[in-house]
Amino acid sequence: MGENGGFLFPNDLHILWQLMIVMYPYVTGLVAGAFILSSLYHVFHRDELRPIGRLALVASLGFLLFAPFTLLLHLGHPERCYNTLVTPNLSSAMAMFGFIYAGYMTLLLAEIWLVHRQDIITLASRSTGIKRTFYKCLALGVYDVSPESRKVDHGVLLILAGIGIPGAAFLHGYVGFIFGAVKANPWWSTPLMPIIFLCSAIVSGIAMVIILYSIGLKFSNRKIDAPCMQSLARWLWMFVLISITLELLEIMTLAYEAAEEWEIIGPLLGDQLAFSFIGIQIFLGAMVPIILLGIVVLMSRYLTDQIRNTLCFVASLLLLLQVFAMRWNVVIGGQIFSKSMRGFREHYTPGLFDKEGIALAIAIFVLPLLFIILFNRVLPVFEQPDEQLSTDTGTPSE
């Protein structure tokens, strides 16, 4: 018997995919979202986003570095994880992770290197001793800073970022596909799942960059670029509207069709997930930010910079929460009901210090932020105020 007296299959008593599997799509979503945001500048030449062009890439790398830990902490045999690379099942969505991850990491590193190449050479030439050796290593033996070389850099960067967009879409679309491909689970099994995951990934990526940009500049006592923030708010507003529309459309379709699966999904959303779905994912996490960002986008001429920045910051925080709630509601929600479709499993609360507990989840979220701080000590994540437009290899105007 389940919690509500419904019938559970005897093997269906516990939630198998726990907090780390919630963190996995959340963290990879931040990777893909931040990357796509950076591409708006590097590929689509949205010059107003220049101040966050580098930050978005480095944030993407930071979260990408720690994304595999979510899976490793979940696996029953993490020491065998190499099997996914050595003997992958080519018909399994999950087996593609290693390849997509490795490819994406290569691409991201190459792009970050190209973006920072001029800085690396400058720093190598200005420093001495071990520091100098370090920067020389980072330069990979290439010290050409001529205008021609910058042009080549920019061309390569454009190609890499261009490849990176479908790459990012694929990286996160496939995470959605992992769930969407489970036909045994009516809450997961929808062709919309990859698109919903991708849209919410972009939302979380932009929201994270807004937060990092706001805090980063606050600590370095610099002024937030108003056109940049305004543009970020506009993009974020658009993607959150698309994201929430898709999420609601899927549920409306399920409810309207009222097929067999709605008998279990209806009570799941209205009762079991009432707080995290209706309360967080829909109202606090989506409706409130939509209003806040709507104010920023539609009433921009009446806003002071401080009000705009505050509204964007609060909306971004809420949207990070919304996307986390969405991942929770998909991953945990999809397991709360038994495959008998007649009952709900025992309530799941993650432990604090478990292998898949809250402490490690927080660590996986915080470590990329520390990485960004560390990276900023080595190479500037924010462009220096005195830098001319022409010094950035990623400048579209070149």
């Binding site: 696996l75 029953g76 045999h77 001529s146 045994a184 689970n185």
Partner: protein, 281 residues
């Protein structure tokens, strides 16, 4: 092509110098070659492994210690039949399976459900401890018009999602139609558990790998039947072989009104049911 040496005098402050795009181009070329070689190596390793697996599943089957010498898995195609009308819910099958396969407590490779259906179509279903201890009589408060016991196990589907989704080929289907798990390869991700529509898989609490009904492969490949079939006192469970001429189960499947679970998923189960009703799923 000349390059700019990194020295304060020549490159301070990001100064210009002689172009040396060739150096970078060379670097990119070498990088691309290295990447290509790595990918090719991985694909080759993968193909080598797949070739080995193909050999293992061919006419000369010898997957490491899977069965005794002399057994030819190309000459068998196992099917399972449950006659719901005969089951008395004694739980002997669940106990036999548990002992035979050392199934951990509170986990089940096979189990029995009790259905009690009222005149209005409301179903009260239970399977306390997987039906291992039988079923205590109890009142439902409903006008029960139909009741039956419903034994379940892995359906050993031909197009099984658990094998399709396993990221490391740890789940596989033998030539004679049994879905198994290679515990030495399983990474314990649980994807197959999520993928099984019938709830017949679980993660073993001690080995941390996927576990499921093996159709007592260690027995049937020696000419014996499964523990659950042997333990059933009323012949509600039967193991058949579609490749054996005159096989009783094959004959029933061919001639009687057998049903499968969740046919809409097109997993093509090899576990058939006699006496299945609309409430049961």
């Amino acid at each position: 092509m000349p390059t700019i040496p990194v020295s304060n005098s020549e490159c301070g402050g990001g100064c210009g110098g002689a172009p040396s795009a060739g150096t970078r181009r060379d670097f990119l070329k070498q990088g691309a070659k290295a990447l290509g070689a790595s990918v090719a190596t991985i694909i080759l390793c993968d193909m080598t492994d797949l070739t080995k697996m193909a050999e293992a599943s061919g006419a000369t089957p010898q997957r490491a210690n899977l069965f005794a010498d002399g057994y030819d898995w190309t000459k068998h195609s196992y099917v399972y039949l449950v006659d719901i009308r005969k089951c008395i819910g004694c739980g002997s099958c669940v106990r036999a399976c548990s002992r035979e396969n050392n199934v951990p407590p509170a986990h089940f490779r096979t189990w029995v459900e009790r259905y009690r259906v009222s005149r209005s179509g409301e179903a009260v279903i239970d399977s306390t401890n997987g039906g291992m201890d039988g079923f205590e009589p109890s009142q439902t408060g409903l006008d029960i018009t139909k009741a039956f016991f419903f034994p379940k196990l892995c359906c050993h589907c031909t197009h099984t999602p658990c094998v399709q989704l396993c990221p490391v080929c740890a789940s596989y289907r033998t030539v004679d139609g049994v879905v198994l798990v290679d515990e030495t390869r399983c990474i314990g991700c649980g994807y197959c558990v999520q993928a099984c529509p019938y709830g017949s898989r679980f993660i073993h609490p001690e080995t941390h790998t996927a576990s499921k009904c093996t159709l007592c492969y260690h027995r049937i490949t020696k000419g014996m039947t499964t523990a659950c079939v042997q333990a059933c006192p009323v012949e509600a469970r039967m193991l058949g072989d579609m490749k054996q001429v005159g096989d009783k189960v094959a004959e029933i499947i061919a001639t009687q009104r057998v049903l499968i679970l969740q046919p809409e998923l097109l997993t093509d189960p090899n576990c058939y049911y006699l006496g299945l009703t609309k409430e049961a799923r």
